[in-house]
C-alpha cells in the first residue's frame, strides 16, 4: 500500500511496538546463529535398536540391558570362549581347598555418582543377587564379606569351579549404594561402567553418555541411545532408513529383505547396511517327560529324534540349513562341542523300525501300542521367540507322518517349569541358552541334575552324567580329564536324549556404514561399544 506523504507518520501503538521488536530480533539473530552452528561436528548419538524391553530395574529382570550398554559392570568378564577375565576385580585367587575365593577390586574404579567402588558396595550387590532367580543362588555360598575396602571374600560350602562364570552374569552387576531405595529395591541405576545413564524411560528407552571419571580408556563413541522396538520389520526398517546404527534381533524375513534391497540398485538411496553375524550358544530343544510310559523307552525318544527334519526346519524357519543341530551344544562352545559324536540324523525308516521294536504298531490312523492305545502327546511352547510356534507346528507335522499325534499348546514360558514341577508336562519346545552363565557347566549341572531340571531332564537321570558334572563343578581337573568328562557327558546326552536338540541360533545385526570396529559378543553380554568408532566420512 503506497502512501504519498512525506509528513511524519503518527505514532500509533503498532509503530511503537515495531521498533523494539525489530531491535530484539536483530540482536537475537546472531545469538541464534552462533548457537545453531555446532562448535565441532559432533556426530549424532549411536542409536541401537533391539527387541529387549526394560521391565523393571531389578538386576535379575533387566540387568542385562545395562551390562550390554556398559553402564554397569560385574566383578568378572568372560572371553568369547567363556574364560573369565578381569572386570571390576583386577585379580582373583582361590584357596587350595577351593572354598575361599578372594577378589581384588580395581583401585581407581568409581561409581557414576563419584563415590569409589568399595568392597562393601560389591558385597551388597552380590547379596541381593543371591535371591532366586538370580543365578548366584545356584552356588553353595556360605558368606560374602569385605575384609577391607578393596577386597571381597567369598566363602563356599563346597568347591564350585563355576563361580567366576557366575560372577560374570548380569544379575550380579554392581550398583552404588545410592541406587537402592529404603525398601532395598533398586531405584536408579548408578553403575561403574564407561558410560553413565543420561535418560532412562522404561520400558523402551535408555540414553547414555561417556562417564568422564572412568578409570579405563575413554571410548570413541560419546553418546549412545537404546530403543526397544518389538517388531522385527520395524528394526530392519530403522536400520535401512538410517534411524538406527545397530539393529539387533533380525529375523530371517528381515534379513532376506535387507539383502534383497542391498542388491537392488533402485533402492540405492537407502543406507547400505552390512550384516554382522555370530552363532550363539543357544539351542532349540524339545524337553520331554521321560517318566511317561510312552517316552520311558529310549528307542521311542530316538525315534522322535530321527523323525525330525532338522535341515528343513533350519532352512525354512531360521534361514540357514547349517543351523540344523548335530548335537546339543553348538560349535561356538568349542570346549564342549564334540566333533567325534555321530550327528543326529533324519531317517524316517529307522524311526519306524525303532517304534516297531519298542512295541508300537502302525495302524491306518497312527501308532498304537499293544493295548491299542494311540500315541498322543502335547507339546508346550511360548511366543516370546516368534520362531518357536512355527517350529512346533513343523515338528507336529513331521511326527504325524511318523504316526504320532502331537497337539501344539501355545502359552506362557512359565508353563514349562510349572509343568515340570506338577508332572503335567509331556513335551516342551524352548530355546535354551547354554551359556547363560559363560561356563555351560553350571547350566548343564542345573538341567541334568539327579532330580532333573526345570529346563532340562524330566523323569530321567544318569549317574554317569551326574557324577561327571559334579566332578567338573567341584574340582579343578586337569585339561585331559576335563575333556574326557565333557565327552562322556555329551556322548550320554546324545544317545539317551533326555532333551532332543533341534537347531542352533545365529544372531544377525544390521550395522550402519558410519560405524567401524563392530564385533559381536557370542555370549550376548556386551555390545562392545568401547571398541567401536566412527568411520571418517
Amino acid at each position: 500500500m503506497t502512501t504519498l506523504s512525506s509528513a511524519p507518520k503518527p505514532l500509533t501503538r503498532r509503530r511503537a511496538l515495531q521498533a523494539p521488536v525489530a531491535a530484539l530480533a536483530a540482536g537475537a539473530l546472531p545469538a541464534a546463529w552462533a548457537q545453531g552452528t555446532p562448535t565441532a561436528s559432533a556426530p549424532a548419538p549411536l542409536q541401537i535398536v533391539g527387541p529387549w524391553e526394560i521391565s523393571g530395574l531389578a538386576p535379575a529382570s533387566s540387568g542385562y540391558v545395562f551390562t550390554r550398554l556398559q553402564v554397569t559392570e560385574t566383578l568378572l568378564d568372560a572371553a568369547d570362549d567363556g574364560q573369565p577375565r578381569p572386570a571390576l576385580a583386577r585379580l582373583w585367587r582361590r584357596s587350595a581347598d577351593g572354598l575361599v575365593w578372594q577378589f581384588e577390586l580395581r583401585p581407581g574404579a568409581r561409581f557414576h555418582d563419584g563415590t569409589p567402588v568399595t568392597a562393601a558396595a560389591v558385597v551388597r550387590s552380590l547379596q541381593a543377587a543371591q535371591v532366586a532367580p538370580a543365578l548366584l543362588s545356584q552356588a553353595p555360598i556360605e558368606s560374602i564379606t569385605a575384609p577391607d575396602e578393596g577386597t571381597v571374600l567369598i566363602r563356599l560350602q563346597r568347591p564350585h569351579t563355576a563361580l567366576p562364570a557366575l560372577l560374570a552374569h548380569s544379575s550380579t552387576m554392581v550398583l552404588a549404594p545410592a541406587s537402592y531405595g529404603a525398601d532395598g529395591k533398586v531405584r536408579s541405576i548408578i553403575g561403574s561402567g564407561p558410560y553413565r545413564i543420561a535418560v532412562l524411560v522404561p520400558p523402551q528407552q535408555v540414553e547414555t553418555v561417556v562417564f568422564d571419571a572412568y578409570d579405563g580408556p575413554r571410548p570413541a563413541i560419546a553418546a549412545v541411545r537404546y530403543l526397544a522396538a518389538s517388531r522385527a520389520e520395524t528394526r530392519a526398517l530403522m536400520a535401512e532408513s538410517g534411524q538406527a546404527d545397530l539393529a539387533y534381533g533380525l529375523d530371517p524375513a528381515s534379513l532376506r529383505r535387507l539383502q534383497r534391497h542391498a542388491q537392488n540398485p533402485a533402492l540405492a538411496r537407502r543406507t547400505a547396511v552390512r550384516i554382522a553375524s555370530v552363532t550363539l550358544p543357544r539351542t532349540v530343544i524339545v524337553k520331554l517327560n521321560a517318566g511317561l510310559p510312552a517316552l520311558r523307552d529310549v528307542r521311542v525318544r530316538q525315534a522322535l529324534s530321527l523323525a525330525i527334519d532338522r535341515a528343513g526346519i533350519a532352512l525354512a524357519l531360521m534361514g540357514d540349513e547349517a543351523l540344523a543341530a548335530t548335537q546339543l551344544l553348538p560349535p561356538t562352545l568349542g570346549a564342549w562341542h564334540n566333533p567325534h559324536l555321530p550327528p543326529l540324523q533324519h531317517d524316517p525308516e529307522a524311526a519306524a523300525r525303532m517304534l516297531r521294536a519298542a512295541g508300537w504298531q502302525r495302524h491306518s490312523d497312527g501308532l498304537r501300542d499293544a493295548e491299542g492305545q494311540p500315541l498322543h502327546l502335547v507339546i508346550r511352547t511360548f511366543v516370546d521367540r516368534p520362531e518357536l510356534p512355527l517350529i512346533a507346528t513343523a515338528l507336529q507335522e513331521q511326527w504325524r507322518l511318523a504316526g504320532m499325534a502331537v497337539k501344539v499348546s501355545i502359552g506362557n514360558s512359565g508353563d514349562v517349569p510349572r509343568g515340570h514341577r506338577d508332572g503335567s508336562l509331556q513335551l516342551a519346545l524352548a530355546a535354551r541358552n547354554y551359556a547363560n552363565v559363560p561356563d555351560p557347566t553350571g547350566t548343564l549341572a542345573g538341567d541334568f541334575a539327579a532330580q532333573g531340571g526345570d529346563w532340562g531332564a524330566m523323569g530321567w537321570h544318569s549317574d554317569t552324567v551326574v557324577q561327571a558334572l559334579q566332578e567338573l563343578t567341584r574340582t579343578q581337573t586337569p585339561p585331559e580329564r576335563t575333556r574326557a568328562l565333557r565327552q562322556t557327558i555329551t556322548r550320554t546326552l546324545q544317545t539317551e536324549l533326555p532333551v532332543i536338540p533341534v537347531a542352533w541360533y545365529r544372531q544377525h545385526v544390521a550395522v550402519a556404514p558410519r560405524l567401524a570396529g563392530v564385533t559381536l559378543d557370542p555370549l550376548e553380554r556386551s555390545y562392545r561399544l568401547t571398541s567401536m568408532e566412527w568411520n571418517n566420512p
Binding site: 526346519i313 507346528t393 507335522e397
Partner: protein, 302 residues
C-alpha cells in the same frame, strides 16, 4: 475397530434431531433406534448383488475344502513362500503349506464359528428382550440397566478377559463374543416386541384365552423374524471380523488351526516377499464386508 454408526438417518422433515446412536465392533449397534424396515416391493440391484456375494462366500466356505482337495497341513519345508503356480494356486506359506487349502479351511472355520457365536448371542439377547417387553416395569428397568452397564465396559476388554479364561478353547471365545453382542439383540427384540405386545391383535388373543405360547408363536416370532434374520447376518459378519481381530492380536485360536486372523498374523513378516499370503485372507474379509455393505450401505458392518 468400528466405523461410525449410521443411525443418523436423513434429516427428518420436522427438523427434530434423531438421537445419535453409537456402536462398536463388539457391542454392535446397541442403542440403535429400532426400525422394522418395510419390505421393498422390488429388490434393488445392490441388494441382489450383496446376496450373490454372500452366497458365493457361503458356497466357498461350505464346499471349498472339498473342492480344493489339498490338505492344509501337509508341509514342504523346501518349497516355502512359493509364488502362485499351477500346482499351488495361491502359493505356499512359510511352512510350505498350500495357501489356498488353508484359506478354504479358514473360511469354513471362521464363518462357522462366527455363526455359532452370533446364535449364542441371539438366543439370550432375544429372550431377554422379549421378557423385558412382556414384563415391563421393574424387570424391564433392571434389564435396561444391565445392558447399559455392559455397554459401558470396553467390549474388547470383556472379550479379552473371557477368552483368556481358557486360552484357545472355543467355548471361551463364544462366551466372550456373545457377552459383548447380546445387547444388540436385546434392544432390537425389545423394541419390536413392545408395540406388538401392546397392539390390538395380542390383546384380542389374550382376551380370547390364548396362552403365552400361542402369543409367542403366532404374534411375536413372525414380527421378530425378519429383523432378527438381518441382524443375525450382520452379527455373523461382525463376529468374523472380531475373531480375526482377536486372532491377529494373539488371543483366540491356536496354531496350526487355519483361521483368518491367524493367517494374517503369520503372513505379516513376509508382506514384501510374499504379499499374496496376506492379500488372500484380506481379500476374503473385504469380500465379506462388501457383501454386507451392499445389502445395507447405511449400516455398520464393523
Amino acid at each position: 475397530m468400528s466405523s461410525p454408526p449410521e443411525s443418523l438417518r436423513a434429516i427428518p422433515p420436522e427438523g427434530g434431531r434423531t438421537p445419535v446412536a453409537w456402536q462398536s465392533q463388539f457391542h454392535g449397534g446397541a442403542e440403535a433406534v429400532p426400525s422394522v424396515p418395510p419390505r421393498p416391493l422390488r429388490r434393488p440391484v445392490r441388494t441382489v448383488l450383496g446376496i450373490a456375494l454372500l452366497g458365493l462366500l457361503a458356497l466357498f466356505a461350505l464346499l471349498g475344502p472339498w473342492l480344493v482337495g489339498a490338505s492344509p497341513e501337509v508341509q514342504d519345508l523346501r518349497n516355502t513362500l512359493a509364488p502362485p503356480s499351477a500346482q499351488h494356486w495361491l502359493g505356499t506359506d512359510v511352512l510350505g503349506r498350500s495357501a489356498l487349502a488353508r484359506l478354504a479351511h479358514a473360511a469354513q472355520l471362521s464363518l462357522g464359528m462366527a455363526l455359532l457365536a452370533a446364535v449364542s448371542a441371539a438366543v439370550p439377547g432375544t429372550l431377554l428382550g422379549i421378557v423385558a417387553a412382556w414384563r415391563g416395569g421393574r424387570t424391564e428397568r433392571a434389564l435396561l440397566m444391565l445392558s447399559d452397564s455392559v455397554l459401558a465396559i470396553p467390549g474388547l476388554l470383556l472379550v479379552l478377559l473371557i477368552a483368556a479364561l481358557a486360552p484357545g478353547a472355543l467355548w471361551a471365545l463364544y462366551a466372550g463374543l456373545s457377552a459383548a453382542l447380546w445387547v444388540e439383540y436385546f434392544r432390537v427384540s425389545r423394541a419390536v416386541a413392545r408395540p406388538v405386545l401392546a397392539g390390538d391383535t395380542v390383546q384380542a388373543s389374550r382376551l380370547l384365552g390364548f396362552g403365552r405360547g400361542y402369543v409367542l408363536r403366532r404374534h411375536l416370532l413372525p414380527a421378530l423374524a425378519p429383523t432378527l434374520g438381518t441382524l443375525l447376518a450382520f452379527t455373523t459378519s461382525q463376529a468374523v471380523l472380531a475373531l480375526a481381530a482377536l486372532g491377529f492380536v494373539g488371543v483366540g485360536m491356536q496354531p496350526p488351526t487355519p483361521e483368518l486372523g491367524l493367517m494374517m498374523t503369520e503372513a505379516m513378516p513376509y508382506y514384501e516377499e510374499a504379499p499374496w499370503l496376506i492379500a488372500a485372507p484380506t481379500a476374503l474379509l473385504v469380500w465379506l464386508v462388501a457383501a454386507m455393505m451392499l445389502l445395507n450401505p447405511d449400516r455398520e458392518t464393523a
